[in-house]
């Protein structure tokens, strides 16, 4: 089978990019062609194979969270959720792709349920966008700060249980992948973060798709004699492979890989964040420039990263105390709500509004300021991802080995100390090692954002690309400085409520 090069830019966009031609002509790496890993991933039950251990781990975390030690650093639920899970998730997205959605334990429970319960409804048309999931995403970030989730194994266990309940209810009622596409906050985080991943599920040869009559990749395959019996699902998130662009909304479930009768879908390498530099019509999504909701998701992703880190350093408490004194709040919720509104709503509105206005006035871009802001909002997601990487990477690397004593302790508390006495002195990598990695992530994010903004500016203002780029470049640098400032602040973590 011939494998033509993956086209990252249109022919017009390639003009003037002679230096990139060699890169563009290169045969993409295909993870499915790698010995051992490829055949394993192609195996129909590969996803289940990874989901089962994560499901068991989820059960252990729920039980340990509800019944185990109440002290957060000594409980598997909190250590695994807030140190290891988050760190592994962002590092996997950086190095490969959306591997958490691939091995999602919640989906295992949902698939199990759907063997008996078949949903009857289609997801309401008015909710077929990202607004609900954005609200939930902000809600999770807000709840994390307000209730000090990191400090409470009990609440952490209930969050996991709540997640299982939510997916079973939503996908028990609504057909296809309604929860993943329209509800799941972790999924939205993964979708927007994985626009910067080096791998994507994509067709190998477009010509094969052009001649395909069955479209099994989206329709699935059914028993010929009994059309109600599904032999292999097609894409539940309405991504039609030949028209799919990038990783947005892709859970890496590989249903399309298993469904394609021509073996024409692979996990291919691509330029990280390259999908943000152009604005093609995307299957199941449309054009990014016309999706205000996905642009808002990109902004919440970026500014939420700042807010999430801001909640862990000393200045946030100074700000909260001042707000509480000035506005006579009697609970932390009011002050925290104002901070969230300022950082996630007001700040991006002012900064992007100003940058869009300057782009329009200075570079002569004819679109309205809102359309410009929406278009360039996506350029901030690599920087946001850099901040999430720096933050979660910090906790992951500095607490890397804490899983050892916590597991030893869990066995010891069961009266089965087969792993020996807990070695509480095992913690993780020293800060002197981790800090350069953090700044490396931030620099990587900045570079990605600048490149995307430059790519968009070149398209928007052929005469004055620098003028179109300048306000966004300055905005990226301002946000980068904010990120660096946050990461250099002394940590100060205070939970307001210690449940359990």
């Amino acid at each position: 089978m011939s494998k033509p090069p993956v086209v990252l830019f249109s022919a017009a966009e390639q003009e003037g990019h002679a230096g990139e031609e060699e890169f563009l002509e290169a045969q993409p790496f295909d993870l499915l062609a790698v010995p051992v890993i490829g055949p394993l991933l192609r195996w129909r039950h590969s996803r289940t194979l990874l989901q089962i251990p994560l499901f068991v781990l989820s059960m252990v975390m729920i039980l340990e969270g509800l019944l185990g030690p109440t002290l957060s650093p000594k409980n598997l639920a909190t250590v695994l959720t807030w140190v290891h899970f988050r760190g592994v998730l962002v590092l996997a997205i950086l190095c490969a792709g959306n591997l958490f959605c691939f091995s999602c334990p919640f989906m295992l429970a949902r698939n199990f349920m759907r063997k008996w319960i078949h949903p009857r409804f289609t997801w309401p048309r008015r909710l077929r966008n990202k607004w609900l999931s954005i609200a939930l995403f902000v809600g999770v970030l807000f709840g994390y700060e307000l209730f000090g989730l990191w400090a409470s194994p009990w609440l952490t266990a209930w969050v996991i249980l709540g997640y299982f309940a939510a997916i079973l209810i939503v996908d028990g009622l609504f057909k296809h992948g309604a929860f993943c596409k329209y509800v799941c906050p972790i999924g939205q985080f993964n979708f927007i973060a994985s626009t910067a991943s080096p791998l994507e599920v994509a067709v190998r040869d477009q010509e094969v798709c052009d001649s395909c009559q069955t479209r099994d990749c989206i329709r699935g395959r059914r028993e010929p004699a009994s059309p109600l019996v599904v032999l292999q699902r097609g894409c539940e998130l309405a991504l039609f492979q030949p028209a799919k662009v990038g990783n947005m909304d892709c859970t890496f479930c590989l249903d399309c890989v298993h469904a394609c009768p021509h073996d024409n879908v692979g996990i291919l390498s691509r330029l990280p964040a390259g999908e943000l530099m152009s604005d093609p019509l995307r299957s199941g999504i449309g054009r990014f420039s016309r999706r205000n909701d996905i642009a808002a998701l990109a902004l919440v992703f970026c500014f939420g990263a700042l807010m999430n880190a801001f909640g862990m350093v000393s200045p946030v408490y100074t700000a909260e105390s001042w707000l509480e004194r000035t506005l006579h709040f009697h609970s932390r919720a009011g002050a925290l709500g104002i901070l969230f509104t300022a950082v996630i709503l007001v700040e991006p509105a002012i900064l992007l509004g100003a940058a869009a206005w300057i782009t329009r006035a200075w570079a002569g871009v004819k679109s309205g300021w809102l359309a410009i802001a929406v278009r360039y909002a996506y350029a901030l997601s690599p920087l946001g991802f850099g901040m999430w990487l720096a933050h979660y990477g910090f906790h992951f690397f500095t607490g890397l080995y804490t899983i050892v004593p916590v597991t030893q302790n869990a066995f010891a508390e069961l009266g089965w100390p087969i792993l020996g006495d807990p070695r509480w002195t095992l913690v993780g990598l020293p800060k002197t090692v981790v800090e350069p990695i953090e700044f490396g992530f931030l620099l990587l994010g900045l570079a990605g954002s600048l490149l995307v903004a430059w790519g968009l500016a070149q398209d928007d203002a052929e005469q004055h690309p620098l003028r179109a780029f300048a306000p966004w470049g300055v905005l990226c640098v301002i946000l980068f400085v904010c990120c660096v400032w946050l990461m250099t602040q002394p940590m100060d973590m205070r939970a307001t409520m210690l449940a359990g």
Binding site: A151, S226, D492
Partner: protein, 143 residues
């Protein structure tokens, strides 16, 4: 007939799958059900304190006073002090307490960062009994 056979296979497969899932989750359920109950301190009174206040990053003196049911000091105990951030993944700090008066134990504890801490007193009495006490230290201030 073919559809019936397929459905039958599907049903059998789903039953096998549910069996596997239940087996997989069983160890977690059984293990948690077997958890040992926590030790109680019995008739021992423990009065803990920390100074100076407000608590700041750096070395603070944590103390505990042990008395028995008749309010007599309990001397000769071994007291180890452990400080943990309430965020998982942070380095705990440890110190051994010295008995500066009968039943009075003091230890210098190094608070390495601001935020909410939990101080644990691991107490081993002279007769070998072990007692544990937790003290919440909220809002350690950055310098």
């Amino acid at each position: 007939m073919i559809a019936g056979v397929t459905r039958g296979r599907l049903k059998a497969a789903s039953q096998r799958f549910s069996g596997v899932l239940m087996l997989a989750a069983l160890p977690a359920v059984v293990a948690t059900g077997c958890r040992k109950p926590p030790e109680t301190s019995g008739a021992i009174a423990i009065e803990e304190s920390i100074a100076p206040l407000p608590v700041r990053i750096g070395t603070e003196i944590v103390s505990c006073k042990l008395t028995n049911a008749t309010h007599q000091p309990i001397a000769g105990a071994r007291v180890q002090v452990e400080g943990d951030m309430d965020h998982p993944g942070m380095a705990p700090v440890f110190a051994d307490a010295v008995e500066d008066a009968p039943g009075n134990y003091r230890a210098p504890l190094q608070f390495t960062m601001g935020g909410d801490w939990v101080v644990l007193f691991h107490i081993t009495l002279s007769d070998g009994r072990r007692v544990e006490r937790q003290m919440d230290v909220k809002g350690v201030e950055s310098n």
